[in-house]
Symmetry: C2
Subunit: 209 residues, 2 copies
């Protein structure tokens, strides 16, 4: 079963919303309500959830807690991912403090930086190592996922070190460049320039209409 990327993205949105509703102590929610809160059509919400076997009760909706648990299980395995981050500049620091990494699903095991002031220290409770030791440390600590927040010029060298470790299986890169990886290694790229250009493109398009 290959789930399309927009579907996964919506699942993550359902998951986050259900987490909020769960916190608020809410017991049921309808596809209509989910749709309104997320800006997604109710029919799309029903289609997505029924695909994974969740059928809401007509006139009642879904049980928040059950649906929350279910979406969580669909999204990621009940285990902790061992992750590392390369590049502890402003962006790296922002990521370290980001709620995304405060989840119990991840454990940040190591940081890497070229700056000798940073390597050798602990930053926000995580040990920072010099760039040269990246492959060895990642292999030792069995890092599965690498977060890349280095400048464009350093991205490929980091990816090569990560591949050398033999344990990395996925990379989330914020570097504004394209990196080459061996087949089988998953790479997701968050490119701020691309997002900004997309926004401007559509603004221009609207202006012309």
């Amino acid at each position: 079963m290959k789930v399309a990327e927009p579907t996964v993205e919506r699942l993550v949105q359902y998951y986050r919303l259900l987490g909020q509703l769960h916190e608020e102590g809410r017991r049921v929610v309808s596809s209509q309500q989910i749709g309104e809160m997320l800006g997604i059509k109710a029919s799309q919400v029903r289609k997505d959830l029924s695909y994974f076997g969740e059928i809401g009760k007509r006139g009642v909706g879904y049980h928040v807690d059950r649906l929350y648990e279910h979406v969580m299980t669909i999204l990621s395995p009940p285990r902790v991912w061992r992750i590392a981050l390369a590049g502890v500049g402003h962006l790296g620091a922002a990521l370290l403090g980001h709620t995304a990494f405060k989840s119990e699903k991840f454990h940040m095991e190591a940081l890497f930086d070229v700056d000798p002031e940073k390597a050798g220290r602990e930053i926000l409770g995580v040990p920072c190592y010099p760039f040269e030791d990246m492959a060895a440390v990642m292999g030792e600590k069995k890092i599965e996922v690498l977060i890349l927040s280095v400048p464009a010029a350093a991205a490929q060298a980091c990816v090569d070190k990560a591949v050398e470790s033999g344990t990395v299986r996925g990379i989330l890169t914020f570097a504004p460049t394209t990196v080459v990886v061996p087949e089988g290694l998953l790479v997701y790229s968050v490119d701020i320039s691309v997002e900004l250009e997309k926004l401007l493109f559509y603004l221009k398009e609207k202006e012309e209409r």
Copy 2:
């Protein structure tokens, strides 16, 4: 003409690559070469470019400079966008220093922050104003695009202030939450949690296969 989002994303990638080739002084490039450098099929490259009227010469390819100019014109108008950024924490600082904003197409006019240490000062050459003055300052400076790098809890209030300004037309948000905007206002969201969850989802899927 409504251009699909993945197409726009590829156009941005072509644009960036052509910029690099242009800098290197390269004169021609084939769809095959573009495809290889970006991990896109050559047939897709040809299809995308011919859609906008660019036909490469068989056995020669495209003229780098002409194609670069053309893709730039398609992507965004020959004018400077007036942008502002709310939230000058680690992420905001990372964005301010990001190559995406070093382009001649943007001019960062104002920053906003709740921290009284920051408001009233200039940060990296840009004046920072208190959050309360956001609507007024944005209106005065005719800000068209707002970059949002505030915590989730502050996102909606910032969006409301931006809407109040009357001049904002697009928002690029990095806040890990959903915001409500009036119809007609474009919002792009870069959600780090979503990207990370997507990566883990596909890693899990591969593990199960």
